[in-house]
Symmetry: C2
Subunit: 319 residues, 2 copies
């Protein structure tokens, strides 16, 4: 695949190019498995600076709800926000008034297929930069990851999803996949259920341990891993026959998805608390349908297998 | 209705009697509109002391999901919890180790009917006591309320629900209803949607401005107002014909219900954060089914009316 990166340009410009390109590639890839098309909304952050583009496919043939959102925002960070960031980034320098300029750019997607045998997935890659008054980056980092949330476990699907992401990361540093895999299991943990949201994937944050251009390349490689990691799984499962009971199990698992996103997900919480943020783009991640049944138990061994996996994360490939 | 209160007994004993009695009365009242019965689970809080009884009717003829839960718990409050409480109750005295003994007892219910014209309701009344070493109450308060969440507005339903609760409170102090009505609109506000969860009702907390026995009588009166305030509404609407679009609107509104409960409701948040709490009893409040549609708009004037009401709370009866 041809790279859209160009080292002669600032990192922020390259990252914006990248997420714009990947939004188009990924939505096109999804459309190849559906008969519906994505609907596009452009939105602006108003006075605060920046905006984004939300692309949503709802009630398609294969996908119940799929949202792919990019945002490119910039502005001034208030002192409280800076204080929190200093916990992880001690070298942030503020101006005389205690403020700093920032730039943030990312792509975020959640895909919920209809068929309970086809897994839900989530991906997010983002770049954050604190900018000097001359426009050069002062402090910067990347974050993100991709993870899979099936209602039924197919080992080959889980292995494929992990393997494609491992292959992408292994080109940059051999310890990245094992670290990001564990980080993912830890991040997507639902304490009140004592289970993870799904079967994992990769997750990282505050990442700046490679030169910025190398990080960009790594992010591009992760992006490129996504469609080969996910689309074949949907293709294999989208027409698998299913029972009402299997559909109900999917709905109950989607309830757990909602619980994680509304109660624990940092991005969602931050978005809901930020005045002026676009709620529809933030809550795009929620499934079209979800269910809560009182004291619901796994109805059979296949559902129990899922519970076993989310209660004790599995190393799908050798670490 | 005969009172179960007996001033010769400690307040905590009377409150426990009250919630036990009301759980039976209310579930019996609900069953009179359904063909299914409530299923009962007794649960214990383990070493921590106390327990409760959850009664659930799921997939009945009238009710999609109805949960009525009582809990009677006691134990020792850790110093952090006491610090928080001191914000509202300055006279709490701790023992030498900084701890205090507590007793808490309450009934909590949420009822979701199938029919989109029949409203969802929630009720909760609770008593909290910090206990001296000799077993007498040191600091105590009552809290709770009842509120209505329709998907479609029927003015007479909203008025009836409010009027019955006003009548109950007016016997004790004329300013209670106006205060508790406003408090309810404020408490059940969803900031990220800029709307209230429903059409209000009454809500209060840290209530100790009447003698404890009078408070108990007031709580009993509020309990007694509930069935006359709610059951006739369900009876009127449970067989109203509805379209697929109306059912979908109800599902979207239930999504908002989930958002409030998981993101803002203090009781739910406290429960999810408390190790050893019974998650199934806490999340019993969530609807059996809910939906999130991207950028969904009110499809017609009846749905728009609901949005107008939740965006600008109405005084259903003169304050």
């Amino acid at each position: 695949m041809t790279s859209v990166l160009d080292p002669s340009l600032p990192v922020r410009v390259q990252m914006e190019r990248l997420v714009r390109q990947k939004q188009l590639e990924i939505t096109k890839g999804m459309e190849s498995l559906d008969e519906s098309s994505f609907h596009t909304d452009e939105w602006l952050r108003g006075e605060s600076g920046g905006g984004g583009r939300s692309m949503v496919l709802q009630e398609g043939k294969t996908f119940e709800k799929a949202g792919v959102n990019i945002s490119v925002v910039h502005g001034v960070l208030p002192p409280q926000a800076i204080e929190k960031m200093k916990a992880d980034h001690k070298n942030i320098k503020t101006d005389a008034g205690g403020s700093v300029k920032f730039f943030a750019c990312g792509l975020s997607l959640v895909i919920h297929p209809w068929n309970p045998h086809a897994p839900t997935t989530h991906l997010n890659y983002r770049y954050f930069e604190i900018t000097n008054s001359d426009g050069s980056p002062q402090t910067w980092w990347f974050g993100g990851g991709a993870d899979l949330t099936p209602a039924y476990i197919y080992d080959e699907d889980c292995v494929q999803f992990h393997q494609k992401h491992k292959d992408a990361l292994d080109q940059y540093k051999p310890d990245l996949y094992p670290r990001f895999k564990k980080w993912c299991d830890k991040y997507f943990f639902i304490p009140h259920r004592n289970e993870t949201r799904g079967i994992g994937g990769i997750f990282f944050d505050d990442f700046d341990e490679l030169p910025a251009q190398k990080c960009l390349e790594m992010i591009e490689a992760c992006f490129n891993a996504f469609l080969p990691a996910y689309l074949p799984l949907v293709e294999r499962r989208k027409d698998t026959p299913y029972t009402d009971q299997q559909k109900q199990w999917q709905q109950v698992r989607r309830g757990r998805y909602v619980e994680f996103n509304l109660v624990y997900d940092r991005g969602t919480k931050f978005g809901l608390q930020t005045p002026g943020s676009r709620i529809e783009s933030i809550l795009m991640s929620l499934p079209m349908t979800a269910s809560w049944l009182y004291d619901h138990k796994a109805p059979g061994p296949e559902e129990q297998r899922l519970l076993d996996v989310v209660k004790t994360p599995v190393d799908w490939i050798e670490l």
